[in-house]
């Protein structure tokens, strides 16, 4: 019996020692474009965040940040959470997170410029710190970048093992007149991401969010 208990204990210790807490965890960083007319789309972003809160599991990381004039800053992070491994605690964290996002959406003010690259750089930094197994950057924006004078964003992205998903990429008035502009804009971002060894996807139909974390 003593031998059996010893073997069981050793097995438990070995299993605990072999447990992997990082490979299967997801790190999601969502950028919300608050510039100009796009700010009115934030209601949709709210439903995406609710969806994310529903699907993310204990141990996952979620951060929501705004895209404004200078997005490469921790100050632009609206809410961030590393969900506890216990489901009960994780549920409470989700409720708090939702409340924070709701408050932000209710009080958001649009910014004059759109620093998407700065936001992406901040997201990379944040996700690298979280060291999640699967990293996702969700860009809720029309992808029209407008940098303020003096802001330099010629740093190449380092997006290894990271998937960048552009959500709700709306067509601008100029795009309607000349769709080529829209396509070039999307292609430009795709190139930026893929040069940085990232994976690029666009989801405009928000009813298809169940494919969000599908590995391609």
């Amino acid at each position: 019996m003593r031998k059996l208990i010893t073997v069981l204990l050793l097995t438990v210790i070995m299993m605990y020692g072999c447990t992997d807490t990082k490979t299967h965890s997801k790190g999601v960083y969502m950028l919300l474009d608050t510039s100009g007319t796009y700010a009115i789309e934030l209601k949709k972003a709210q439903s995406i965040i609710n969806y994310l809160l529903g699907v993310l599991q204990p141990g996952d990381t979620l951060a929501v940040a705004r895209i404004d004039t200078g997005s490469f800053s921790e100050k632009d992070i609206i809410a961030t959470v590393n969900f506890d491994t216990r489901p009960s605690v994780s549920n409470r964290q989700k409720l708090v997170f939702q409340k924070t996002v709701n408050e932000f959406v209710a009080s958001v003010k649009s910014s004059p410029y759109t620093d998407i690259s700065g936001g992406v750089l901040q997201a990379i930094e944040h996700l690298n710190e979280a060291a999640s197994g699967q990293q996702y950057i969700l860009i809720f924006s029309d992808l029209k970048e407008e940098l303020a004078k003096g802001h330099i964003r010629d740093v190449p992205f380092q997006l290894s093992h990271c998937t960048v998903i552009a959500l709700n990429v709306t067509k601008l008035r100029t795009d309607i007149r000349d769709p080529k502009q829209y396509m070039e804009r999307v292609a430009e971002w795709q190139a930026k991401v893929e040069i940085g060894n990232g994976c690029w996807r666009v989801i405009n139909d928000l009813e298809r969010l169940d494919n969000l974390f599908t590995v391609r």
């Binding site: 299993m15 299967h24 965890s25 809160l53 529903g54 599991q57 204990p58 009960s88 549920n91």
Partner: protein
């Protein structure tokens, strides 16, 4: 230069075709015998190889069948031994119980007999008789007196005394009879007690006789198995198949129970071990839930082994009684603790599910008042969580039956498989042989003009040597017959006869 040019040896293509045909037929005619021999030897090689393989496989099948039979007999003997052992245990218990009580029963019977004897003696006492001088007085009292008053008075007194004495004697007699009746009525319960004791002894003896009869039956069955009678083997085989399917069915049911149990504890286990860690591709909480269920099964296995219900681990069943009792105590305690843990986990699962539903409704913007907070599902889950470990503990019984019977069933299937393989090999060999014959005949069919020509030339040139030729033909036919494999068929029949 093309191939067509090479083939066209004359200017006329038809003539070239004819020349080539003649050349080809001539070549094929001269190559006829070597090709026949080659084809037939090749087909014979395949046939013999297949036949040998078939015999080898069949032998392996027979060995397996023999082994299967031995396993079956061994299992049957073990089963009967267990039954006999149980019957002997019962007899031992009955004999020990009754013989232990026998001295007191004997003493009781002896006491009762003594009392009965005493009572009988008491009841047999003669009532007090009249004094011996009474007849004298009676004679005097009956003397007729002549009227003398003194004598008359005396005789009257004597008569009076006598009458009184009679009356007293009758009363004494009656009281004595009544006393005897009382003694006799007191004897009745003693008789009944004796009757009861004897009935009990009789029942015990009858019971022992019935048990002895059962043991006789088992011994008869045991003897049949031991002498390896076909009937006994068939019975055991049938019993083994039945056991296999029944045990399999029960194991499937148990698997369903284990699955439900797993679903009951997997989610709350994430509260204990965390829901974010993985062991390989599996969540640690799932693995932990599975481990708990497996530990429960193992404890059940050990418990039933300790109770000597199953015999999967000879080490446990051969332990001394003290150690076994300790083991029973330990396994039951662990099972109760695990059942308690599962019950608590089931409660926790209900709470987590409630929280998750509340979260989903909040995220979807639905009012939380729609949630029902009945306690019945919670209590139901907790009861299930407590009962399932004990239910799973009994899986050891069908598991043992399944393992034991699967040896026989797998053996039967193995024998069937080997016999099928043997048949297929033999079929392949025979087919290849007849295929060879077919090729030879087809070859002859292709070159039939040359054969016909050979026949015509031979008949015209050797008319005078017909008999010699016929002898040659007969010899060649014999050779062909040999080549046809009739000898092999004879050999085959011989083998079959053997």
């Amino acid at each position: 230069m093309t191939v067509a040019d090479l083939l066209q040896i004359t200017g006329n293509p038809y003539l070239s075709f004819l020349v080539w045909t003649v050349l080809l037929l001539t070549t094929l005619y001269f190559a006829r015998k070597p090709i026949h021999r080659t084809v037939m030897s090749f087909s014979k090689i395949i046939k013999n190889a297949m036949r040998l393989s078939s015999i080898s496989v069949l032998n392996a099948g027979e060995k397996l069948a023999q082994r299967n039979r031995e396993v079956l007999i061994s299992a049957g003997m073990e089963h009967t031994e267990r039954l006999l052992e149980r019957e002997f245990d019962r007899i031992t218990t009955a004999v020990t119980r009754d013989l232990d009580a026998y001295p007191s029963l004997h003493r009781n019977l002896a006491d009762l007999t003594t009392r009965l004897e005493e009572d009988y003696n008491e009841s047999a006492e003669v009532p007090p008789s009249l004094p011996t001088w009474m007849p004298i007085i009676e004679s005097i009292a009956k003397i007729k007196h002549s009227g003398d008053s003194m004598i008359a008075t005396m005789l009257g007194e004597i008569n009076k005394t006598l009458t009184q004495q009679h009356k007293t004697a009758i009363e004494e007699y009656r009281s004595s009879i009544a006393a005897r009746h009382i003694i006799m009525s007191k004897m009745l319960p003693y008789w009944r007690q004796v009757q009861k004791s004897l009935d009990s002894v009789g029942k015990t003896v009858t019971n022992l006789t019935v048990r002895a009869q059962t043991i006789d039956n088992y011994m008869e069955e045991y003897e049949k198995i031991r002498s390896q009678e076909d009937q006994a083997v068939r019975k055991l085989s049938s019993s083994s198949l039945t056991q296999f399917f029944i045990a399999g069915l029960v194991l499937l049911i148990a698997f369903g129970g284990a699955l439900i149990n797993f679903n009951l504890i997997a989610l709350p286990m994430s509260e204990m071990v965390g829901g974010a860690s993985y062991i390989g591709p599996y969540k640690t909480s799932d693995v932990a839930g599975l481990v708990i269920i497996l530990v429960e099964l193992t404890m059940g296995l050990f418990l039933l082994e300790s109770l000597r219900i199953t015999r999967l681990f000879p080490v446990i069943s051969s332990m001394d009684d003290k150690m076994r009792h300790r083991m029973i105590l330990i396994t039951v305690t662990i099972l109760i603790i695990l059942a308690g843990v599962e019950s608590a986990l089931a409660f926790m699962r209900d709470r987590i599910a409630y929280d998750l539903e509340a979260l989903r409704q909040t995220l979807a913007g639905v009012e939380q008042t729609a949630l029902l907070s009945s306690r019945i599902p919670t209590i139901g889950q907790m009861v299930m969580g407590f009962i399932l470990p004990f239910a799973l503990a009994f899986v050891a019984i069908p598991l043992e039956s399944f393992i034991t019977s699967s040896r026989t069933v797998l053996g039967i299937f193995g024998v069937g498989f080997l016999q099928t393989i043997s048949f297929l090999l033999r079929l392949l060999g025979t087919t290849s042989y007849f295929l060879g014959r077919f090729v030879v005949n087809a070859y002859d069919l292709v070159i039939f003009p040359t054969i016909w020509l050979e026949g015509a030339i031979t008949s015209s040139w050797h008319k005078t040597h017909t008999e010699i030729n016929q002898e040659d033909i007969r010899q060649s036919q014999d050779e062909e017959t040999d080549a046809d494999g009739l000898t092999d068929e004879r050999l085959h029949y011989k083998e079959q006869e053997q």
